[in-house]
């Protein structure tokens, strides 16, 4: 699997800020990975995301040191137009991202802006809607849809651009629990079917940990932990970094420390119950 994202020694300080928001950050992400990015408020997650999708330095200026390469291209030097086709971004609130009269037009929006040829555009829009399961909503007005549907529309618009890397910024925070679960399953499916790489910033890790390959923790602008979710969550430092260790994972850890032997870690509630039932 090739490297899709390379962050090398990245530091960034906003103008007039006393400290760098990101301070000497290194990270490599391979194609097809789902990386969960977590950390306490103010740790620099948003700044890092902006440096990946080019808003820094193209929209936000400041002291920039180091490099970010997406698909081999330096973010600092690439145009926003090129970057839009390499890195997709899903906002926390889909309302901020969808605004056309019909779902179809909304999904096509980015492509129209790029001046993509009509027949090519049609194909990509249809493909994106099919992938997100919203073909039947093509003619509907986005504002009439449910939150989960709106999010799919926004995601379809991002996917139509065919970026190989998509960043989701706290995508579940406004969603009800079932819709949140469905979104995470969708991300997993897109990774498997379309080979898209995802970086997901999320506080509610209980939803994401079983699907993510990696959990990267930031604190004070730096990377402080980086490993599989199972390894990171079983490290006692995790709680100190404001990481919400899911309840069932904490229970699993406590039982393991008391002698419960498990072949696999990060079990679901049902899986842990099965293991316990065998020993009751």
């Amino acid at each position: 699997m090739g490297t899709i994202l390379s962050v090398k020694g990245l530091s960034f300080r906003y103008p007039d800020a006393p400290r760098a928001a990101v301070d000497g950050f290194d990270m490599e992400v391979s194609e097809g990975e789902i990386v969960a990015l977590a950390g306490p408020s103010g740790c620099g997650k948003s700044t890092l995301l902006r440096a990946i999708n080019g808003l820094i330095p193209h929209m936000y200026s400041g002291d920039y040191v180091g490099d970010v390469l997406v698909d081999g291209v330096k973010v600092r030097e690439a145009s926003m137009k090129d970057l839009a086709q390499k890195v997709g971004f899903l906002f926390q609130n889909p309302e901020n991202q969808i605004f056309m009269f019909s779902v179809e037009r909304d999904v096509a929006f980015g492509l129209e802006n790029l001046g993509v040829e009509r027949s090519e555009m049609r194909g990509r829009v249809d493909e994106a809607m099919a992938l997100l399961g919203i073909t039947h909503l093509a003619g509907r007005a986005p504002h009439e849809l449910s939150d989960g549907q709106k999010q799919r529309v926004a995601l379809a618009g991002v996917i139509a651009m065919r970026p190989r890397l998509i960043i989701l910024d706290e995508p579940t925070s406004l969603l009800d629990p079932m819709t949140a679960r469905e979104l995470v399953q969708l991300v997993d499916r897109l990774r498997r079917e379309a080979g898209i790489t995802f970086i997901v910033v999320e506080h509610r890790l209980d939803l994401l940990v079983r699907v993510a390959d990696r959990l990267v923790v930031m604190n004070g602008g730096r990377k402080v932990m980086d490993g599989t979710p199972a390894d990171v969550l079983s490290d006692s430092r995790a709680a100190g970094y404001g990481i919400s260790v899911p309840a069932i994972t904490r229970l699993e850890q406590l039982l393991v420390s008391e002698g419960l032997e498990l072949q696999r870690r990060l079990l679901s509630p049902l899986e842990l119950a099965e293991e316990v039932n065998r020993r009751l």
Binding site: P40, D147, D176, A180, G242, A247, I248, L251, R279, L280
Partner: protein
């Protein structure tokens, strides 16, 4: 189309109630009726036995403090200090008391360093703490929190849980609207489940959260510990409220 359809709900003094349900179920609409921001088209809303139609929002706010989901809808002063002072002065507190309450609020919520800062410069989480600080400074008997955990990290959520415990211990009535089932579960509130403008279940968390199907119809998932509990072949009378309770029960029972 009705946002609320025949909702009958009584919240008693010192109760802690969580309102859960899918987006668009009517949770925030219900909350807006509590301070008279919305008046019912049919039926009545009574606060302390008085009809909200006969009261101003200002009068109701003295008793019921609401922290809305989006703090930007609620913050407007030049400084954090001023923001807290505003409500207090409006409710007629004396200068000395105002200063004292501001000091308490800034200290308790860890906002002292931002005393003179503009609320607009605070992070999302800090703004949420500020709205809560404002509300608690005038000591309403009912505190309503609309999605208080959105955007908050684990440390902030733990602090919030602590605040809720403190409010409970001082006899406050607390209403929590939230999607964060994992956050709500250890609090063990009374849970009201709403779907499509109606209340479809209402009772203690330990009972309500066991009905997986009913919860699912309101797009609510079961807390992890409840799913775990339900799948055990041997188990205690009610689901484990937290991880420690689960461990204590299992310790010594496992081969």
């Amino acid at each position: 189309m009705k946002a609320l359809d025949g909702v009958t709900l009584t919240i008693g003094d010192s109760e802690t109630v969580a309102i859960v349900g899918e987006n668009g179920a009517g949770k925030t609409t219900l909350v807006r009726h509590m301070t008279g921001l919305l008046k019912p088209t049919e039926g009545r809303v009574l606060v302390d036995g008085e009809d909200v139609r006969e009261k101003s929002t200002a009068e109701l706010s003295r008793k019921i403090g609401v922290a809305f989901q989006n703090p930007d809808h609620q913050l407007f002063s030049e400084s954090v200090e001023e923001e807290i002072a505003f409500g207090l002065r409006n409710f007629g507190f004396e200068d000395g008391v105002v200063r004292q309450r501001i000091g308490w609020a800034l200290n308790f919520f860890g906002l002292e360093e931002y005393r003179r800062s503009s609320p607009l410069t605070l992070s999302g989480g800090e703004k949420k703490r500020l709205t809560l600080a404002c509300i608690l400074s005038w000591d309403p008997s009912v505190v309503v929190l609309d999605e208080p955990t959105v955007g908050q990290d684990a440390i902030q959520k733990e602090k919030l849980a602590e605040i809720i415990r403190m409010l409970r211990s001082t006899g406050k009535t607390i209403v929590l609207v939230s999607h964060d089932i994992e956050f709500l579960w250890p609090i063990q509130p009374r849970v009201v489940v709403m779907s499509s403008g109606r209340v479809i279940d209402d009772g203690p968390a330990a009972r309500v959260m066991l009905s997986e199907e009913r919860l699912a119809s309101a797009r609510v998932s079961q807390p992890q510990l409840v799913s775990f509990y339900s799948a055990l072949k041997e188990r205690p009378g009610s689901p484990f409220a937290d991880v420690h309770e689960a461990r204590r029960w299992l310790s010594g029972r496992l081969r």
